[in-house]
């Protein structure tokens, strides 16, 4: 057979043997394949190498664990179809991970400059289920994950970590079309880790994140007890929707993704990474009114379409136990500044923020006399402009990287590429990925020790 054999390469976890399923293909024989383009994936599990080690391995709380394969060079692909075992054998671990396993060949379409072009690039993806009941076998990072991540690195490299805490404007850019970081993996050859935490049921606005950073275990116990007491005594009988919403809510509130450390498996074994080097936020997540618990003081921001998932008892709890608090632009600014300062002090992490689209082709205002001052309290595009300017004010005194969605949408054409102001086209997502990767490269350059040793948190 012609072409370069594509082999797995090494992957190891200290004290554990890696067992893999049959492959599931993302590309077919005969198709052209770009360098770095994912072509296949498999599920993996970690099995104790001896009786002395337990089952609490490096990624024990992440029940979804998969490896994605991509060639280092572009060319015409030929796969070995027998690598796909089919049925449950493409889901369950059936073979030991062997570095010399060949999954196919590639005929390069240009001169090869890679030192070892046949060794596949590997991205490991891991999902921490919102509930262990979310046991779904379909596709990449399947089911309902409260946190998912993907990482890749070569020997001697330490990934820089970006935590995505945004809304839909961040989700598509970071997760990509198949919700598994495939586009980021292809776009970035430097060692990286992307972590994604969804915006449900609690949207990640600054007050919520600040609460998470400072919440003590006793405070979490108090808020959990408050919710339990309400549901236990509510005049409105809790439904299944209420219990599921309550469970998801508590699951989110007990976590502090901004302070998480991360274990990774790699070609050289298990590694431990510190908290995220940067967090990606959405300015669109900042509401002008937020719920604050009347007695415990913590904040909740649940977007309207997520509130609809709650049953009547949770709706009653939100109405009675919380009060809405207005947030002026000055308050939003203060919350951002406090978040940036707190994060810098506690983990050294930096903030990247997606600003807001501030024009719309769906309105035709020719005269602003009809709108009361301050117009930013009524007109969404004026509010967006003021908030975007606020970010620049913050960036004058603090480390804040603004990803300029507004300018990019204007450049590409918002009607085609950002029609509702939040959900981008594929082309716009590609452009935003490039900007985010550039920002991460700048962070890597600013902290050169990250690449070789990582930070000691």
């Amino acid at each position: 057979m012609n072409g370069i054999p594509l082999r797995f390469g090494p992957l190891a976890s200290d004290g554990y043997a890696i067992v893999r399923s049959g492959l599931r293909w993302l590309r077919e024989s005969g198709q052209f394949c770009r360098a770095g383009q994912p072509i296949a994936y498999c599920n993996v599990s970690l099995e104790p190498a001896s009786v002395r080690v337990g089952r609490h391995h490096a990624v024990a709380d992440e029940l979804e664990l998969q490896v994605v394969f991509a060639p280092r060079v572009s060319g015409r692909l030929t796969i070995h179809p027998e690598m796909a075992r089919g049925g449950y054998l493409s889901i369950r671990g059936v073979d030991a991970w062997k570095p010399d396993t060949v999954l196919g060949h590639i005929e390069p379409d240009q001169p090869v400059e890679e030192g070892d072009p046949g060794r596949l690039r590997l991205m490991v993806v891991a999902g921490r289920r919102m509930t262990a009941l979310a046991d779904v076998h379909s596709g990449l990072l399947p089911g309902w994950n409260g946190r998912s991540r993907g990482w890749w690195c070569e020997e001697g490299e330490t990934p820089v970590t970006l935590l995505s805490l945004g809304l839909c404007d961040a989700t598509g850019v970071i997760l990509g079309e198949q919700c598994a970081f495939l586009e980021m993996f292809e776009a970035a050859s430097d060692a990286m880790q992307f972590v994604f935490v969804p915006d449900h049921p609690v949207a990640p606005c600054a007050p919520v994140l600040l609460d998470q950073l400072t919440r003590t275990p006793a405070q979490f116990d108090a808020l959990a007890e408050d919710l339990r007491r309400f549901l236990g005594t509510s005049a409105v009988p809790p439904t299944a929707d209420d219990w599921m919403f309550a469970g998801a809510l508590l699951s989110v509130l007990r976590n502090t993704p901004l302070k998480d450390n991360y274990n990774i498996i790699s070609s050289t074994g298990t590694r431990r990474l510190g908290p995220p080097d940067a967090a990606l936020l959405s300015l669109s997540a900042e509401p002008q009114s937020i719920l604050r618990h009347r007695t415990l003081g913590y904040h909740l921001h649940i977007m309207r379409h997520h509130q609809a998932a709650a049953g009547p008892a949770i709706q009653a709890w939100l109405s009675s136990a919380f009060e809405p608090v207005k947030r002026s632009i000055d308050v939003i600014r203060q919350d951002y500044e406090k978040l940036i300062d707190t994060l810098a002090r506690t983990t050294g992490g930096r903030i990247l923020v997606l600003n807001r689209m501030s024009t719309s082709g769906y309105e035709d205002i020719s005269n602003y006399m009809a709108f009361d001052a301050p117009m930013s309290a009524t007109l969404s595009n004026i509010a967006a402009k003021e908030q975007n300017l606020m970010l620049h004010d913050i960036a004058e005194t603090r480390e804040l990287t603004i990803i300029d969605v507004d300018a990019l949408a204007a450049e590409l054409g918002a009607g085609q590429h950002l029609p509702d102001g939040i959900h981008q086209s594929g082309q716009m997502q590609v452009a935003l990925r490039q900007r985010i990767l550039q920002a991460m490269a700048d962070i890597r350059d600013a902290t050169p020790d990250v690449r070789v040793a990582g930070r000691d948190h």
Partner: protein, 122 residues
Amino acid sequence: MLYEFKLPVIVPQMSGATVECLYSARDDSLRLGSKLMDLSVDLSSAFAQECPPVSFYRLVLREAVYLRQIDVQPGQHCALGDRIALFSTDPSEPIDQETTRQVRYTIAGIIHHDGMWTGSHS
């Protein structure tokens, strides 16, 4: 002359809109720049996704008229092209005649507020 307001296309993919609140009542004399109503457009029926893009809009009049008939209530969903209101330039003009045209209006994207149907009833 009689003018009407039929629900126009605000967002290309919309099939209708929900009346969020009304600012005017029948027989009101409305000046240029008067607020008529707020509407919401929910594209979740157009796009099957977990994050329905819901946006809010305010209709403001661009000419002075009398509101002679308004056929909607807050919370009511209207289809594209439904006649929502009828206006006249003379307060006593009979309204059982053909309308001349669509009333002149401005559409502005607005922020959700406490006076809206959405959030207080749904």
